[in-house]
């Protein structure tokens, strides 16, 4: 049978450098399909969907709330053409009831070990409207290796530079952070993948640069140490979310190829300043993630925070506006207080205010968000700062003997499209 797997596009935030990374969820899902399934994959962010392609069954995989409306449109079109459509993925779980209106079937939960049943039902014409495995998480050892062979690699390449590959070493999260739904989606228990399988999969990835997408690596010190120790011989270079603030862990992370980390910057304390410095001391870059619009932030607090960022030597900064995603405490609080005024999921892109902030108008928060980006990148653009980080990784790779020059055949292409050169007279 031919299964067409689709990842819907979403509108990118204006004014920011756009990079299309090869999506992780769909290829991890594809690994859970039985071997008799012939899968094709279309990432609509980098290529158009061929609605006429011969196929038997359609899967729509969605990660972001900003993908769901487009996902529904795609499903509506395929269903008009007589195809059956099943939805899955993180944002399917967060928006399941609405998604059911556009689906023949909705899959909730993790797909490992479940797809035989779904496909058998489909073959017998007994596809269920809902496959609900939210409360029955599979054995973590069943995960992967992801079907990265499904990527059209040239579409994830910018001027000859291959984008990082995404990878995950665990699921679940023991933290329950205010704006995050992961502990609901993946469970409140940290579930590391077996180390040997993790390393085996890492070894098969034909890319020296990775983004380890686990929500936080700082879940278990022993696990982090073991993981990093085993990663050292692979000589990969990688980006990740927070790493534990422990000299032993940071040292091993650096040896294992930590390139830069996303680190939340939530106040102007000496602790944050020192935290950034400690990463740098180990040669690990830092992209600060700054969430604006929390109830404990006044206008002055935000302005002070932006000034602080310029003082603490961050390599990059990413500003987002609080988005009250379903199944977060932020959503519960703002809902109870009647402060959510925009329910259009396309606007839940973390760059747009969809609720009434506590200490300022929605318009003022939007202005401060724009100002934050502008102020941080005033003296050195985002592209210039990214290039500096990129240069760091190139140097490390040259030292390791793993550096691969740019692909000259793709030097005039950016994510599959011709590069339009700006020529000034």
């Amino acid at each position: 049978m031919k299964f067409k797997l689709i990842y819907p596009k979403w509108e990118k935030l204006p004014g920011q450098t756009t990079f299309n990374l090869p999506p992780h969820g769909p290829v991890v899902f594809a690994a859970s399909l039985p071997s008799y399934v012939d899968v094709t994959f279309t990432d609509e962010n980098v290529e158009d969907i061929n609605f006429d392609e011969a196929c038997d069954f359609i899967g729509v995989s969605m990660m972001l709330s900003t993908q769901v409306k487009r996902g529904w449109e795609i499903a509506d079109e395929f269903r008009r053409r007589g195809k059956q459509v099943i939805f899955g993925g993180i944002s399917t779980m967060l928006h399941a009831e609405e998604t059911m209106l556009h689906a023949d079937s909705v899959f909730l939960g993790e797909s490992e070990g479940r797809m035989e049943e779904v496909l058998k039902d489909w073959k017998e014409g007994k596809l269920k409207k809902l496959y609900n495995f939210m409360a029955e998480r599979p054995d973590i050892a069943l995960v992967g290796p992801a079907r990265r062979d499904l990527y059209k690699r040239h579409l994830y390449n910018h001027k000859g530079v291959q984008m990082v590959d995404l990878f995950h070493a665990s699921r679940g999260c023991k933290f329950s952070c205010y704006p995050c739904a992961v502990s609901y989606l993946g469970g409140r228990h940290f579930r590391p993948r077996p180390l040997d399988k993790t390393i085996e999969e890492l070894n098969t990835i034909d890319n020296n640069r990775l983004f380890i997408v686990d929500n936080s690596l700082a879940q278990s010190t022993d696990w982090e140490l073991d993981l990093f120790r085993e990663m050292i011989p692979l000589k990969k270079k990688w980006i990740s979310h927070t790493i534990e603030d422990d000299p032993k862990v940071l040292d091993l992370a650096a040896q294992a190829g930590a390139w830069y980390v996303y680190q939340a910057v939530y106040d102007t304390s000496d602790y944050i300043k020192e935290r950034i410095k400690r990463y740098h001391d180990y040669g690990i870059g830092v992209e600060g993630t700054i969430l604006l619009g929390l109830d404990n932030q006044s206008e002055d607090d935000i302005l002070r925070l932006i000034d602080f960022l310029l003082e603490i030597d961050l390599d990059l900064a990413e500003f987002t506006i609080l988005a009250p995603f379903p199944h977060t405490k932020a959503y519960d609080d703002l809902l109870r207080q009647g402060r959510i005024f925009d329910h259009d999921w396309n606007h839940y892109n973390a760059g747009r205010v969809v609720y009434q902030p506590k200490h300022m108008s929605a318009e003022r928060l939007q202005e401060l968000y724009d100002y934050a980006w502008e102020a941080f990148y005033k003296d050195e653009s985002q592209e210039e700062k990214m290039f500096k980080l990129f240069a760091q990784v190139m140097l490390k790779e040259m030292k390791d003997g793993t550096y691969r020059p740019r692909d000259r055949n793709l030097i005039t292409k950016s994510f599959g499209k011709d590069v339009v050169r700006k020529i000034s007279n």
């Binding site: 409360a135 329950s176 205010y178």
Partner: protein
């Protein structure tokens, strides 16, 4: 973010809309012919959905389990104090009203309760 057991008399197990096993703190106080139901969010000790996200269904599940007529209940959601440095986890109480639709409750509306109102209700905390 351990929640003090002063907020509840028992842990109540409930299911979210997708049958996800979930837990909350529960205290029921009889006041005249009214039952004051206080559900407390347990944060890290709640494996499933929050008391708010699926509030109407939770209220219904409590009424059924405890034999309480919905029209006799005063329903209160509690965000307990967790001694967190973050103000989002300060203690808050909300009185929640529902509409009856056939055999279920719908459309929760919330009213934040002041400390005085809370004291009037319980004289407990």
């Amino acid at each position: 973010m351990k929640v003090s057991d002063k907020y509840y008399d028992e842990i109540f197990d409930f299911l979210d809309q997708w049958d996800m096993p979930s837990k909350c703190g529960l205290k029921i106080i009889t006041k005249g012919n009214k039952k004051i139901i206080v559900v407390t969010e347990l944060y890290q000790d709640n494996p499933g959905t929050s008391v708010t996200y699926n509030g109407a269904s939770l209220a219904w599940q409590i009424c059924r389990a405890k034999g309480i007529k919905p029209e006799d209940m005063i329903y209160i959601e509690c965000n307990p104090d967790t001694n967190s440095k973050l103000s989002f986890y300060d203690e808050e109480f909300f009185e929640v009203s529902f509409e009856f639709q056939g055999d279920r409750l719908t459309n929760p509306t919330y009213k934040a309760l002041t400390s005085d109102e809370i004291r009037n209700y319980f004289k407990v905390f």
